[in-house]
């Protein structure tokens, strides 16, 4: 546990937490440009959060303490996940405590608490949202785990920073298995973060909502924490994708403080491209019917397993 490692860790944490709404803003800007609309400002999500923080909280009469605690728990697990993912550097001390499987577990914890909070008030919309979120989750989580598994089998370790390092230090080679799992991972990213084609983040029709339906009862600072956690989740998934598939540019123990300074603009560039790509996928696809979502996710799962088999056969 070196000072550089601790500094990287704290920097990653703080930057991820503060920059997550900006990433969301960038994605909606790109979407607006692609749809020939005038774009909102990049800092629009921050203004939204500020507005929510300054409002009173209105709780339903039968809300339990679980409902009030859930936003903080969800936010906390997302921040802890951001601390484990090597977005800027790989010498993270906390990654010894939690590897990639624990990361998937942390994301599952956030999902379970969100669903339980949605069921707490007991209206039809909340329970519908919880049911659909668990339906998306029970296929997306194994798909993500299999993607992680393939990367772990290639690098012979389940620790995310070591996987990223392993990929950078190997000679540049085409890995077909990683290509399959990358496609699968993108599909999981779309499903878990409630983007088109699985869910429309901008919808106001309750019967089509998955993620938004779970937030219907929240207001004020609780809603602000939930929205911030959702933005942080998208950023986390993007950074997991970078760590597993395009880790070049992150600083290692060997590259010292200059490496860390270099890693920040590299990360910004990667996020910009990823955000634009996400907006493009969303604009080109149409939203699926809710019961086509399991087929979509089953395809992602099968692609990940296929990548695994490809790795075992082709040996790379």
């Amino acid at each position: 546990m070196t000072t550089l490692g601790t500094a990287t860790q704290l920097l990653e944490l703080v930057c991820a937490t503060l920059a997550a709404p900006a990433f969301l803003g960038w994605v909606s800007q790109c979407r607006a440009w692609l749809q020939n609309r005038s774009a909102p400002s990049l800092l629009q999500p921050y203004l939204g959060l500020r507005k929510l923080f300054h409002k009173d909280v209105v709780l339903a009469e039968n809300a339990s303490p679980l409902f009030r605690v859930a936003p903080y728990v969800v936010f906390g697990t997302m921040v802890a996940a951001a601390a484990i993912i090597p977005s800027m550097g790989t010498g993270l001390p906390l990654s010894m405590a939690a590897d990639a499987i624990a990361l998937v577990g942390l994301l599952a914890t956030a999902r379970v608490f969100l669903s339980l909070a949605a069921m707490d008030i007991g209206t039809a919309f909340g329970t519908l949202g919880a049911r659909r979120e668990m339906m998306v989750g029970f296929l997306a989580e194994p798909a993500l785990l299999m993607v992680v598994f393939v990367a772990a089998m290639i690098s012979k370790t389940t620790s995310l920073p070591l996987i990223a390092e392993g990929l950078t230090t190997r000679a540049l080679a085409l890995h077909p298995s990683l290509a399959f799992t990358a496609v699968g991972f993108t599909m999981v990213l779309l499903a878990e973060n409630a983007r088109i084609p699985v869910d429309n983040p901008a919808t106001h029709l309750e019967l089509t909502m998955i993620h938004e339906a779970m937030l219907l009862e929240y207001s004020g600072r609780h809603l602000a924490m939930m929205e911030w956690a959702a933005a942080l989740k998208l950023l986390n998934y993007a950074c997991i994708g970078f760590a597993l598939f395009i880790p070049w540019g992150t600083s290692t123990e060997a590259s010292g403080p200059q490496g860390l300074l270099l890693a920040v603009p590299v990360l910004v560039a990667k996020l910009a491209v990823a955000g634009a790509g996400l907006a493009l996928i969303e604009t080109l696809s149409a939203k699926l019917r809710v019961f086509r979502a399991p087929e979509f996710l089953a395809t992602a799962f099968l692609l990940a397993v296929l990548g695994l088999l490809m790795h075992l056969l082709l040996g790379d």
Partner: protein
């Protein structure tokens, strides 16, 4: 060391027996059984657990009891494997006994003293199964376990469903016992000595060893609830009183796992790797089958019973993986897989007990088992709700609780499965990891349904307003078990220190190989993979607290209460929430071929429209009903022998006499 752990454990088991018999002194008194005897039983349980844990690393001890038939005394042996399961028995039963102190009331259908006798006989016989060192003692203890649990299951014997559930349980238990008995018969290998030592020394040919393993897997699998011998579990567990369900699910199913481990690694010397594939396949099928059926249940105890089938499937997956690794010569990986299996057994004992005892409290408070009549109980029963939440999060496999540790270890073992030399196997095993991941995710689904429908939301019946929280002793029992869940989750390294001794002894490997610190769990070198639950939990907790304090400190706005948001539809009521059937509908839709569904749909012309859907087990109609029909047909053919005429019976004797004389000639 003059102190014999074996004698001490035996004394504890005898103490349980004595407590049970003491219940007969004042059979009708609830206070005597409840206030005095059950807490004594709990104390004995704790003592047993402590003894077993301290004796894990000591060498094996034997004893011969003067009980039994004249040439066949009881042989007993205590080794590391027995110690682990004795610790499980003692620890889990202590919590359940404390809970039972306040649980059993008058009018349950059986006299309290009788209940005390059956309960402690059950505990003592399970302990004796774990200590037995010859087939005779084993079978006597096994039968006692089956019989005492049958009487416990049929406590409320006046209800016909409970009687038929008990009958099914007893039937399948005895079919399994025949399998175990035949397996012991094959394993003695011609010496006609039924001690385990003789079986260890006997050398069987590979064919006979396979038959012995197959019979043992069938027999112990019937008791454990492996598909397709699982049909008794969803009937017997809901029929029994909740502490008994907890004991059966948490502890009794694990004695079957103990049996399989004992037979495969200790008694049989020629382990073949493909046996592991059979166990793995059965385990994966059970895990998947169990969890999808759990997702569509409408009775809370049936849901937990199916969830037990799923967890037993995961345990047998680990057992199969261990056998594959050991048979392929990869010793350290086999040890990892075995540690994962034993850890999951320990975890499940505590997690499932918390859940079953929670449902017991709900049943006592509301009188309802049907999920469609519960809801919103977190407000009326906060202690039960929050402690059950610990169990729910643990079984869903979420860090930093204990369910995640065993899942993590199992996935680490699967990660290395690609190195197995056999061709198809090294590709199928990682696919097995995919199925395990799927089952874990589905378990999360099931548990959100369980907790959300019972405790969250609004009450679906008006009568639920009278529900009361659990009493003090019930809370103590739940607290003990929940604390065990948290402890097993946050301090895995200490637990694995003991489990590793068991694995090394059973698989005959040298010690060492773990790269763990006290706060960090690492199966191989820490570079490969590591998990530090204390650090992870600490960091998350700090972030949550900081976020909460920060936000509430900076933005000091009020909190108002108002009605729930209803989208402009002013007449939202509690019946518009998701029902249990509704929550399980995505699973029914996605996995339709596995269910046997009967639907009754309303037509537009009904005056009183009804919608009914019932989800049944396909294996019941495909396997068990034809089997029962065949048995009945055979019985009818045999019944033709009974003519009722004396002349025919005399003819039978005459023909037999002629045949025997001809043979002698």
């Amino acid at each position: 060391m003059s102190f014999s752990y074996l004698n001490a454990c035996l004394t504890m088991l005898l103490a349980w027996g004595a407590i049970g018999v003491a219940g007969l002194l004042r059979p009708r008194s609830v206070e005597f059984a409840g206030r005095t005897l059950f807490p004594l039983g709990a104390a004995v349980g704790i003592a047993l657990a402590v003894l077993a844990l301290s004796g894990i690393a000591t060498p094996a001890e034997r004893a011969v009891l003067p009980l039994g038939l004249p040439g066949l005394p009881f042989h007993l042996r205590r080794d590391a494997l027995s110690c682990v399961f004795l610790a499980l028995l003692g620890g889990a039963s202590a919590g359940i006994s404390i809970f039972s102190t306040g649980y059993f009331r008058k009018g349950e259908g059986a006299l309290p003293g009788l209940l005390c006798l059956e309960y402690h006989c059950f505990l003592a016989s399970m302990g004796l199964v774990l200590l037995a060192d010859d087939a005779y003692a084993f079978m006597v203890a096994w039968e006692t376990m089956a019989l005492s649990s049958y009487f416990l299951v049929t406590t409320q014997h006046r209800i016909p469903e409970i009687r038929s559930a008990g009958f099914l349980y007893l039937l399948i238990a005895h079919v399994g016992a025949i399998g175990i008995l035949l397996s012991f018969g094959v394993m003695q290998g011609g010496t006609w000595q039924f001690t385990f030592d003789a079986m260890r020394a006997a050398h069987l040919s590979p064919g006979w060893a396979t038959i012995a393993f197959g019979l043992a897997l069938f027999g112990f699998g019937a008791k454990a609830g492996l598909v397709p011998m699982h049909v008794w579990l969803p009937e017997a567990h809901p029929a029994a009183p909740s502490p008994v369900s907890a004991l059966m699910s948490g502890v009794m199913l694990k004695t079957a796992v103990y049996g399989v481990l004992r037979v495969s690694f200790d008694l049989l010397d020629g382990l073949q790797w493909w046996w592991g594939l059979v166990a793995l396949g059965l385990g994966l099928v059970s895990a998947f089958y169990g969890v999808i059926f759990a997702a569509v249940q409408t009775d809370m105890k049936r849901l937990l019973a199916w969830s037990s089938i799923e967890n037993i499937g995961i345990v047998f997956t680990g057992v199969g993986l261990t056998i594959v690794f050991q048979g392929a010569g990869m010793g350290p990986l086999a040890a990892l897989a075995l540690v994962a299996t034993l850890y999951h057994c320990l975890n499940h004992a505590f997690m499932k007990s918390v859940l079953f005892l929670g449902t017991g409290c709900v049943l006592h408070a509301t009188g309802e088992r049907n999920l469609g009549r519960l809801g919103g109980l977190i407000h009326r029963m906060p202690w039960v709700a929050w402690l059950t939440l610990v169990g729910v999060l643990a079984i869903a496999g979420l860090p930093p609780l204990n369910g995640f540790v065993s899942e993590w270890l199992l996935l680490q073992a699967f990660l290395f499965a690609g190195d197995v030399p056999q061709t198809f196997v090294n590709m199928l095993l990682p696919v097995g990891a995919a199925v395990v991941a799927l089952c874990t995710a589905l378990a999360g689904y099931v548990m959100v349904k369980f907790f959300g429908v019972i405790f969250l939301g609004q009450p679906r019946e008006a009568g639920l307003a009278g529900a009361h929280d659990a009493g003090l002793v019930e809370r103590l029992g739940l607290l003990w078990l929940a604390a065990a869940c948290i402890g097993l989750g946050l301090f895995p390294v200490q637990v694995i220190g003991s489990l590793d001794v068991v694995a090394r002894e059973l698989l005959k490997l040298p010690a060492g190989g773990w790269g763990s610190e006290w706060w960090l769990l690492a199966p191989a070198a820490a570079r490969h993979a590591s998990y530090g639950p204390l650090a992870l939990f600490g960091v998350t907790l700090v972030v949550v607290v900081l976020a909460a304090l920060g936000v509430r400190g900076v933005y000091r706005r009020r909190v108002r209460r108002g009605p729930a948001w209803d989208c402009g539809f002013a007449r939202l009521d509690a019946r518009m929430q998701d029902t249990a059937e509704g929550f399980g509908q995505p699973i029914r839709h996605v996995f339709e071929p596995f269910f046997q569904m009967e639907r009754e749909l309303p037509t537009p012309f009904d005056a009183a429209p009804r919608y009914r859907v019932s989800v049944g087990d396909r294996l019941w109609t495909l396997l068990y009903l034809p089997l029962a029909a065949t048995v009945r047909w055979v019985a009818e053919q045999v019944a033709r022998l009974q003519q009722g005429r004396i002349a025919t019976y005399l003819l039978y004797s005459f023909v037999t006499l002629i045949a025997l004389l001809a043979l002698v000639l």
